[in-house]
Symmetry: C2
Subunit: 222 residues, 2 copies
């Protein structure tokens, strides 16, 4: 076994489910080069602990109650700039992968990836690399080729900020009228956004949009 004495990876574990934390701890128990220095069960706690501990790597569950994972990631970056953020989630979500990697996450692994992959990811990001689970990297690559050679094609999308807002509202069960009031634009404008969203996502029902928004973490289930 090669392990350079003082290079233990200091890991902060953020997940609202104890059993998941246990799973990670178990997978990491035999890895002598990884040291779980803290745990948090929600975003606020995570930020506090990150500030105090400034861990090497933060394994961050994306689907948590209250503070959304994206929000947490944003704040964690400033709370502990040197920590590498490794996103950890249940669902394969294109938008999520893209957004969180734009927010500076160094990797993305799924809860149904093998524990060994999670370990690999932790080691990779700690060494300054990146690690995206195949399903996640697929999205990154697609986005990348699109961004580089952006002639024609174009059939790809990305919702605007306002469209995300509207989508969030739709999935929360608001009507166009209510959304208009909330966002302080005309109801007709909301309708237009609605149509654009459906076009871009190619989803034509509220139920579908709602499920999409939940997958994306735009709204919580509770």
């Amino acid at each position: 076994m090669k392990d350079r004495a003082h290079s233990k990876i200091r890991l902060l574990l953020v997940d609202d489910h104890p059993v998941v934390r246990e799973g990670i701890k178990f997978s990491l128990a035999k890895k002598r080069n990884i040291d779980i220095v803290g745990e948090a069960s929600d975003g606020k706690q995570a930020i506090r602990k990150a500030k105090k501990l400034s861990p090497d790597v933060i394994l961050l569950d994306i689907n948590m109650p209250r503070v959304s994972g994206l929000e947490a990631a944003r704040r964690l970056r400033s709370a502990s700039p040197k920590s590498k953020i490794l996103a950890f989630t249940m669902h394969d979500s294109k938008e999520y992968v893209l957004r969180i990697s734009r927010l500076g996450a160094k990797g993305y692994v799924f809860k149904d990836d093998s524990p060994a992959d999670v370990v690999r990811a932790i080691e990779a990001v700690h060494k300054g690399g990146v690690y995206f689970s195949p399903r996640a990297s697929k999205h990154i690559l697609k986005e990348y080729v699109r961004a580089t050679m952006n002639t024609e094609d174009s059939t790809i999308l990305g919702l605007s900020q306002q469209e995300y807002e509207v989508l969030r509202c739709i999935a929360s069960g608001l009507s166009s009228k209510e959304i208009a009031a909330q966002l302080k634009v005309s109801a007709r404008t909301v309708d237009t956004h609605r149509e654009h969203i459906m076009e871009k996502l190619d989803i034509r029902t509220v139920a579908g949009l709602t499920r999409y928004a939940i997958r994306e973490g735009l709204v919580t289930l509770e």
Copy 2:
């Protein structure tokens, strides 16, 4: 340590997330009286293994892709009648708790309960008892008092089988017309069910119904 030699609890672990299975294994590693004799990552596999192993207890994740947890529970009962089913899930869902306990589950624990509670639950159901996490038992009790002294009040509900079907379809993004075709009833009937559902649940938007259905596990996110 008291442990009567031959009374190890033979446990079958059913969860689609490796990390969760690891978590359970870790929590159970020190418990010498529990023996994980098998694992499954989906309903079909679970049924196969249950048949072969006929474990004492089946720890069953409810929110799994493909075969719904309820469906799996139903089939597990006949696949391995002697196994005690312990439901294991993320979300606090009244309807789910009630339905799965009606299906014969002997307990209900959440993924954010402490691992120690999960262990307690396993031991309890194995001894022929029941174990419902406080949040789950709350629903059971409420239902119980309602069932016993059923004078007045009545404001409580329970969707009919058909209504559940309609709800599932709605949340899947089907229109009333499509649902009618699928369930082979008139579109107008579907509308009526729709209204009854909304009344009973006091949810008046498709988005709300969709979120409810996802919480209940009637539809999956994918």
